[in-house]
Symmetry: C2
């Protein structure tokens, strides 16, 4: 590990910084580096040596989130209704770290890091998507792009909700609407 070259206190500080960042990013989009440092109980120099700028810190926390989500997903990969389970999981994870997605979008870390995110989710959902279509539980014209659209829609649904619980509820309702639709089947085109 690269970590083994770090002094023990340096490792501890790095972890503290990431913890603080995770906590702060979860609830608010506008967090200054100064604030992160204070919350972590370290000086600014320490923060900036570990993460050269605001973007780098965001990226690191984002990557962690991605890892967690994809790991969680891989387990269900074979499952017949994996598509729906995974989708719900993704959406719920977003509810936990709502502000982070917001942050990632604003910072230009978006370019490299978020594309990676996208790629991994695409990889994760590909099989379940075609399985669900084959099983007849999903409309045949559903595309991978639609999956991302649904994620964004769920994210939008959380906008006005306060607190992780309310966000989760809103996201779930949004997902249900998207899956089942508002029109009765008899009125469909």
């Amino acid at each position: 590990m690269a970590n083994s070259q770090l002094r023990s206190d340096a490792v501890r500080n790095r972890d503290r910084i990431l913890d603080a960042a995770r906590e702060l990013f979860a609830s608010s989009t506008d967090v200054s580096m100064c604030e992160v440092a204070r919350r972590a109980g370290v000086g600014q120099a320490t923060l900036y040596r570990n993460f050269p700028d605001h973007r780098a810190l965001t990226a690191e926390v984002l990557v962690e989130q991605i890892e967690r989500i994809t790991e969680l997903g891989v387990e269900r990969a074979g499952d017949p209704d994996a598509f729906f389970v995974l989708l719900r999981n993704l959406v719920e994870d977003m509810a936990d770290l709502y502000a982070l997605g917001e942050l990632a979008r604003r910072d230009a870390c978006v370019g490299s890091q978020l594309e990676q995110h996208r790629e991994r989710i695409a990889e994760l959902m590909k099989r379940p998507l075609s399985d669900a279509k084959a099983a007849g539980t999903l409309r045949r014209d559903t595309s991978l792009d639609d999956v991302f659209l649904v994620l964004l829609m769920a994210k939008g649904a959380m906008t006005r909700a306060q607190g992780a619980a309310a966000r989760g509820a809103a996201a779930n309702r949004a997902l249900t609407l998207t899956l089942e639709g508002l029109m009765p089947s008899s009125a469909r085109i």
Copy 2:
């Protein structure tokens, strides 16, 4: 009018400021007062006399948008498929002034002004909503809250789209998904 008490050049400047604000707010969420003043070709003092702070300016532009949207809607009020037409209109309007919604959410102008917005849209959609349910073109368990959820979802769908056209497309796809659902009717619960 309160305007009749203003000097003619003052009126002109006020309009210029609002024009500039509208233009800038349409494309970006992060606009400084300084920038608005420069774009409008007025000094900062002029800007600040008309709108005491950032919030006041946002609110004014927001109110204008609300007026336009609701007016547009009132015309179709009687129409049998008014619900769907209005929903699509609202969503498309949001695509035009995407950043403004974002701005409104961030500024605490949300409290009073955005609640008003909500109220007016609620008033506007109430009739069409129950008409559509009565006509059988809408699921009977659809609530007014769902309408707002759909708006937020459409807004979310626009997140990654660049340019008004792309945003419009994303929003429309989102609306279609929400109305028709991703599941084939045979697979519904």
